[in-house]
Symmetry: C2
């Protein structure tokens, strides 16, 4: 009988989810983190960073639609977009559905980009869009140096420990504030609605006053802890609740009503 | 070292979730199904029927809010409500938030009601509400006999195999149609948006034409397969999309925008 390998992700010491590795595709240690890719019959190819599910082919659209479209609609007519993290390319795909001029994607780990090109080619194809500019660099260092002013910044990071921990600080949000224009909008993934509630609550209280209008909101994420993810959205001037969503953008699940129905001032 | 017991629910042969049984509270075989209750440190008390998670103390509100409020708001001023299944009492709790006159709850398995009274006392407390009438009977047999006309029927069943399989038939929906008044509305849980898509699609096509207005809709369910559940809503006369949701009902998560944003004509 063929030996079976299973991946487990604990969401709590007494609760985990487990995927059969129907085919192991890649396992390496990059400069920043452990990267694994395997194929699962139901979910398709699955990307794991430091033991946590990042994307699966089947359900990645839920997360990427929810992180990308809200800030783009709140900023009204965004032309210049910055993605910090997002090395798989899913957020980039959603951003490029809008009529933007340029998207800078700043991913710290080039091995994530390579893994996406090899095992998620449909998503990684958007790296080749003429409007996309892929930069392998630390997001904070990039922001410190750049003079560019963005309409939208999207923080598509991994969890708040390891290489992404610096992205969950007031200092980083102040840096981003300086790098968006007067109508600029920021969105960021903040964690599981059920499992990381206390962390999200404290972090949001710490940064929300930097912006005129700030909310938490949620979206479905079948393979993330608890199935429901929390995002933050921060606007320098435009009202988030009164944002107008045009009908010209196709999504598979996320939309204006689901977004507006999930807006929260606290968690 | 103390021996550890873990419950596993496979959502696919290559994917499962697992809960540590921090304390085993009940295990029995009723006339209809296997009933288990255990305590888990994160989720609280967990009810399992025939190997599938039904409710956990921590997340049951997501499911019960989503199945109960939509039909009650679509029917406008519901007075007489029937719940088929729902032996844990969570749907009853949500229904009783509305200004209804009577709620008949028809649960086939009295052992489910007993388990709820013993291990989910906060939910089961609603069995004692003066407006609630708890009946231990087969839902189909009850409908065949009754002359009552309901404003709302909610089908809060287990999965479409075992004791609940008859609740996923056109014949059962015809019976329900005869038991609601001219403005009557029905809601029913239909399965996982990701794992049972084909079944839901076929079933919905088979019954939707029995009613003037029919939709599928979704809601979060952290401990159900895929984290996103699909419901059907069927209205004899009133428009589902134009339903007006009053602000007098408190929910923890579900609301008018999340409901309306999730309405689908097909899946």
């Amino acid at each position: 009988m063929k030996e079976e390998f299973w991946f487990k992700e604990y969401h709590h010491k007494g609760f985990y989810i487990s995927f059969k590795k129907d085919k192991i595709l890649k396992e390496l240690k990059s400069k920043y983190q452990k990267i694994e890719v395997f194929y699962n019959e139901f979910w398709g190819n699955v990307l794991i960073l430091d033991g946590l599910v990042m994307i699966t082919e089947k359900d990645e659209f839920f997360y990427h639609e929810a992180i990308a479209h809200p800030p783009l609609f709140v900023s009204e007519n965004p032309k210049k977009v910055l993605i910090i993290g997002g090395g798989d390319g899913g957020t980039l795909r959603e951003v490029l559905k809008h009529n933007v001029e340029s998207v800078d994607l700043v991913e710290i780990d080039e091995e994530v980009i390579k893994a996406s090109e090899e095992f998620f080619p449909k998503i990684a194809a958007y790296f080749n869009d003429k409007r996309a500019n892929i930069i392998t660099e630390d997001g904070i260092e990039f922001l410190k140096k750049t003079d560019k002013k963005y309409d939208v910044i999207i923080v598509d990071s991994s969890e708040p420990f390891g290489p992404s921990s610096v992205l969950f600080t007031r200092k980083f949000y102040s840096l981003m504030k300086d790098s968006i224009n007067d109508y600029g909008v920021i969105s960021a993934q903040l964690g599981s609605y059920l499992f990381h509630k206390n962390f999200i609550s404290e972090f949001f209280k710490d940064v929300k006053d930097l912006f005129k209008d700030s909310y938490l909101y949620t979206g479905i994420t079948p393979t993330y802890p608890g199935g429901l993810w929390t995002y933050g959205i921060f606007s320098k001037k435009n009202s988030i609740k009164d944002s107008v969503w045009e009908n010209n953008i196709q999504t598979k699940y996320y939309n204006e009503l689901i977004f507006k129905g999930s807006l929260m001032s606290e968690i």
